[in-house]
């Protein structure tokens, strides 16, 4: 099989996967209402699918995600607000469903942790920078060695023989 041929096969496979994906999405509702679907997409992208935990409800193909998308559609059509729908999810699955968890006692470390680490890192950098500057200061070479250095510079060579 030539290289070109292989590329074509790969492209076909990818195209097919995309087509299947689109097909699957279209299958979910008979007549998708663009307004409902847009809100579903916005909401679903902020909600975690508990079956495949690193996917959002908008992304996941898990049966539970499909059910939850339908649940959200129903609620959007019933005129519930985004906050109400999010609260509905949290009531059932806990704060873990939210990709943007609320700021409260149990999530404090999550929110403040990275900034605290950044501060610690900055402190370490400052400390190291300060301690390095010390020995490079001028005039700190002992007086006895100044002449030695001057001699070396004049010679333009390495250290005096025997050292």
């Amino acid at each position: 099989m030539s290289r070109c041929d292989r590329m074509w096969r790969l492209a076909a496979t990818v195209a097919c996967a995309f087509a299947l994906h689109a097909f699957g999405q279209a299958e979910e509702v008979a007549k998708p209402d663009p307004v409902v679907e847009a809100r579903l997409k916005d909401l679903g992208e902020e909600l975690r699918c508990l079956v495949c935990q690193n996917q959002t409800i908008a992304d996941s193909a898990a049966p539970l995600a499909v059910d939850l998308r339908n649940q959200i559609r129903e609620q959007v059509r019933a005129g519930r607000s985004d906050d109400q729908i999010r609260a509905y999810m949290v009531e059932r699955y806990g704060d873990f469903v939210l990709y943007r968890p609320p700021l409260k006692g149990t999530t404090l470390l999550l929110w403040i942790g990275p900034f605290a680490l950044l501060l610690v890192g900055a402190a370490v950098v400052v400390y190291i920078a300060r301690s390095r500057r010390g020995p490079a200061r001028e005039g700190e070479v002992p007086a006895g060695r100044q002449r030695e250095i001057a001699a070396m510079l004049e010679e333009g060579g390495g250290p005096p023989a025997g050292r």
Binding site: L50, V51, R92
Partner: protein, 178 residues
């Protein structure tokens, strides 16, 4: 000396702290998400029974009893692992167990029970999985321990293990029945 302590001590302390965090993390199962329903009233529902479609079941009917709500399905592999333990529990009369056949086909569910034994006092049939959503079910099997007032006291995510039964579920049932 002091400089040396900083140079080697700080990274060591940081490493030990990181290792400790990771070690603790390893003991947690990311699939076990704490349920917000613990210590809340079990959501109400009315469903057909699996055996008698005409007869409704609702958790109200279990008021005054400490009971287990076991969510299962004939398509669920881990349920097969858990099932013998449930049958054993029902033989010992540990606690009344109500089955919630989740997103299943009635025929398949009934066949499963006749083949593997029926540990349930009642089986409710949740074809659409809506009750499952109200209970925050995301991975069958799941089991809820509900007290006499209808409050959820414990949730087992995944199959009930003999260990969880002995150490957590049975002691809690004894306490709630006392």
């Amino acid at each position: 000396m002091n400089m040396r302590l900083v140079k080697y001590g700080v990274p060591l302390v940081l490493f030990v702290a990181l290792a400790a965090f990771l070690a603790v993390g390893l003991t947690h199962d990311p699939r076990e998400v704490p349920s917000p329903l613990i210590d809340k009233a079990a959501p109400a529902f009315t469903l057909e029974r699996l055996h008698e479609p005409r007869q409704p079941f609702s958790p109200e009917q279990m008021k005054g009893k400490v009971w287990l709500l076991n969510v299962w399905a004939s398509w669920c592999v881990s349920c097969r692992v858990e099932h013998p333990l449930l049958v054993e529990m029902s033989k010992r009369n540990d606690v009344p167990i109500v089955g919630l056949d989740y997103k299943d086909e009635r025929g398949a569910g009934l066949q499963w029970l006749s083949k593997m034994g029926d540990p349930y006092v009642v089986s409710a049939f949740d074809v659409e999985g809506k009750v499952g959503i109200d209970y925050g079910v995301y991975g069958v099997p799941e089991t809820f321990l509900i007290d006499k007032q209808g409050v959820i006291r414990y949730k087992q995510i995944g199959p009930i293990t003999p260990e969880a039964l002995e150490k957590k579920i049975l002691p809690l049932i004894r306490k709630l029945n006392a």
